[in-house]
């Protein structure tokens, strides 16, 4: 029993003798395997001995202290005013995935520093004395952004091999940026060089996703179509085009149809000099004949079958140029007005009791629409985006997979594998789930529940009820 007390004393004393430190070089790094568990306590000696053996192994492992070569330790200093650890000797291999530069020095976040301390790579000094792991926990995990629960999840994932760093909400690319596939740029302190967005942009982000780039190329508006909604972006990097009305009045400029079979002018009058470039000045009338010769006005020779097909088609097709009313239109605008009038006329046979009262039908059958739009019109439940959220639920970490560690670059980390939200209380409600999923963009969110040291991971997958309709 005395011998046991002596060895126990060695284990419990915190500071080892130099001889013990020296011997620690050859310490085993293996962890004993735990045997099978029993179901019923029988009180037999065999069971008691096995329990005692397990307990002894357990205390041996738990009481062991970390011993490292001084040359393997990176020295650092804790700066409590900034809640940051500043390295004083060059960083080791961990610098590839952890840490950031600030004021020309290499720095670590408190959770990263604590993890490296537990790993045995880092020695942090405060007021010229080295901090123990306990002091690290008590000093570094002081704030609500990085509590002990967050650190437990952080440590758990890092021990599994993932690359974990803090989440910055402004680093999530908007839907539009993702469409453009812009490369993400980061400065050395880990913050993304984001485009400064005006404050009204959070609601505008919803709208910008619906703007289809190909539809709005009308007139002289040119490339300024994406800043047309809301207030213009003050720091826009795109060359600003003035939003001016078109300079030309197309209703008065004639564009003769030289290929028309019916009307062949012999010459064209000179155009208005204001339409021409200044250097050209005025030009005379244009002789059309040589140009017409270059046009292919030969009749197409069709085979009998093709001729028959054309004839059948023509039976039902009416040449729009034969329409007398259309011929009376002098330009495109008048033609559109004619179309409008014709549509209005067809509408006049709408029954008054349906269309003149305060409640009108939802849809006019004469109107052309797709099935999808029609279903949208008659839908009662609309999918919604819940955007206003609470402060207590936030995404804390970005997780990158371990097999990408070799090519991982802090300046261009790429898209994370998942984002982590840590909590230890009741399950988050639907509002929170939707909000965090939206905040995270296209990266799935994983929820880590910490129950008194026990960590479980959950994820909620968003699901859209499929509609059987093509829009």
């Amino acid at each position: 029993c005395e011998r046991r007390v002596a060895s126990a004393d060695t284990n419990w004393r915190r500071q080892s003798y130099p001889s013990e430190l020296f011997e620690a070089r050859t310490r085993s790094h293996k962890i004993p395997v735990r045997g099978q568990k029993d179901f019923i306590p029988t009180g037999w000696d065999q069971q008691r001995d096995r329990l005692q053996q397990s307990l002894d192994e357990h205390w041996n492992l738990v009481s062991e202290e970390r011993v490292e070569r001084l040359g393997n330790l990176v020295k650092a200093v804790w700066i409590s005013s900034d809640m940051i650890v500043e390295l004083q000797s060059p960083a080791g291999k961990f610098w590839q995935t952890m840490g950031f530069s600030a004021h020309g020095k290499q720095c670590l976040h408190p959770e990263e520093a604590l993890y490296l301390m537990e790993f045995g790579n880092l020695q942090v000094f405060y007021q010229d004395l080295p901090l123990s792991i306990q002091e690290g926990y008590e000093r570094f995990l002081y704030s609500k952004t990085m509590s002990i629960q967050h650190y437990q999840v952080f440590g758990h994932l890092k021990r599994l091999g993932y690359v974990v760093n803090r989440f910055d909400p402004s680093s999530v690319p908007s839907q539009y940026e993702r469409q453009l596939n812009l490369p993400q740029s980061r400065d050395r302190s880990g913050r993304l060089l984001k485009r400064k967005r005006s404050h009204s942009s959070t609601s505008m982000e919803k709208d910008s996703s619906h703007v289809d780039p190909t539809t709005s190329t009308e007139g002289g508006q040119g490339r300024s179509w994406w800043s047309k909604e809301g207030s213009p972006d003050p720091d826009s990097e795109l060359p600003g085009q003035p939003q001016s009305s078109p300079r030309w009045d197309f209703s008065s400029i004639p564009f003769p149809d030289l290929g028309s079979r019916c009307w062949l002018p012999s010459s064209l009058t000179s155009p208005d000099p204001c339409l021409l470039p200044r250097a050209v000045g005025s030009v005379g009338a244009c002789d059309v004949a040589p140009w017409l010769q270059r046009l292919n006005l030969r009749e197409v020779r069709m085979s009998r079958r093709e001729w028959e097909r054309e004839r059948d088609r023509d039976r039902y097709r009416r040449d729009i140029n034969q329409d007398r009313e259309v011929r009376r239109c002098r330009n495109w605008a008048e033609y559109q007005e004619l179309q409008e009038r014709r549509i209005q006329r067809s509408r006049r046979d709408r029954p008054a009791h349906l269309w003149e009262g305060p409640v009108t039908p939802l849809h006019d059958p004469a109107q052309v629409t797709s099935t999808g739009e029609l279903l949208d019109k008659i839908s009662v439940i609309k999918s919604t985006r819940l955007l206003e959220g609470s402060e207590e639920w936030r995404i804390c970490f970005n997780i990158y997979q371990s097999d990408t560690v070799a090519e991982f670059k802090k300046s261009a980390p790429g898209k994370p594998y998942s984002r982590m939200c840590v909590f230890d209380g009741p399950v988050p409600d639907l509002w929170t789930l939707k909000l965090l999923a939206f905040q995270s963009g296209d990266v799935p969110v994983t929820y880590a529940v910490v129950d008194h040291g026990d960590i479980s991971f959950y994820s909620f997958k968003d699901f859209q009820i499929p509609t059987d309709v093509s829009f």
Partner: protein
């Protein structure tokens, strides 16, 4: 094996625990809070507390193998009920958080630290030299045995080599082994000092935590070992003996006496229990406000069929 005589119904570890607790009865264990979480850092405290039946959960990296999650190391995180039970028994006290007081650099302590480091360096250097000499001796003796030259020549050669080694040997500072302490140095073991420093229990008390505590205390009194049961959908897991060696018997769900539980919740927890082969215990404590004398009511759920 004396099996036929011994019909043990209670766990054996309880008998051992009472003996050990008598020996350690003077010592008060310190609990440090990190925010609202009670932690314990010293290995001897962990051992004493386990003998009282408090298991806790290890949440730090294991010193020997920090790159895995199956076995973790210090600190030990306690359930709030475990901490409260220890405090009520008078066996533990809360050590107030001293990180907020930011004293100036203590030159005495710094000097002590550096002196200790220097001393360690010298000793380790001497040990390294001895080690190398021993290796050299071993090698040379082996060579001598093989060559079988004259005794005097070999002795002289050995002496020369040893001298050369002693002259040329240098132990670089970077090769020195340094300990990275887990627990904070400082407070003495004297229990009187600890009692003075004890702060109030900082965890707020409400009805739910009261119920949980009473159930915990009652089960502990009956000799069971309890741990948290986050992965099983309950409040505690109940073991007949030390969790290192035994499987859990029950999953405990604490509900207050007058709370009504929807049927689907009962079905869900019963299904869960039968899937993991454990019995579910619904526990409620009597509504009285006094600490003693109230009883805890247990209801067990077992999935059975109609045959």
């Amino acid at each position: 094996m004396d099996s036929p005589e011994q019909k043990i119904t209670k766990t054996v570890s309880r008998v051992d625990a009472s003996k050990e607790s008598m020996a350690n009865s003077r010592q008060v264990i310190g609990i440090n809070f990190c925010g609202p979480t009670p932690l314990m850092w010293r290995a001897d405290d962990l051992k004493s507390v386990r003998e009282l039946g408090i298991i806790g959960t290890l949440v730090g990296s294991l010193a020997r193998q920090p790159r895995q999650n199956t076995r973790l190391g210090r600190p030990l995180e306690l359930l709030p009920e475990e901490g409260r039970l220890l405090a009520d028994m008078g066996r533990a006290a809360v050590i107030p958080d001293s990180t907020n007081e930011d004293p100036e650099v203590n030159p005495e302590q710094v000097e002590q630290y550096h002196a200790g480091l220097e001393n360690s360096f010298q000793e380790q250097g001497a040990l390294a030299l001895e080690d190398r000499k021993a290796t050299l001796m071993r090698v040379m003796t082996k060579k001598h045995n093989e060559n079988s030259g004259s005794q005097e020549d070999s002795d002289g050669a050995v002496r020369d080599r040893l001298e050369a080694l002693a002259h040329g040997f240098s132990f670089p500072r970077t090769a020195m082994a340094v300990q990275l302490c887990t627990a904070r140095a400082g407070l003495s073991h004297c229990p009187e000092v600890r009692r003075f420093l004890a702060a109030d229990w900082p965890i707020p008390r409400d009805e739910r935590s009261e119920t949980r505590f009473r159930v915990f205390r009652d089960l502990r009194r009956q000799g069971f070992y309890l741990t948290s049961a986050g992965k099983f959908g309950g409040d505690y897991l109940v073991y007949p003996g030390d969790p290192l060696r035994f499987h859990a018997y029950f999953i405990v769900v604490c509900i207050s006496m007058d709370e009504s539980m929807p049927l689907c919740d009962v079905l869900a927890i019963a299904r869960l229990g039968s899937n993991v082969k454990k019995t579910v215990l619904l526990c409620s404590s009597g509504g009285s406000q006094e600490d003693d004398g109230e009883e805890v009511v247990y209801t067990s759920l077992q999935w059975s069929g109609m045959v």
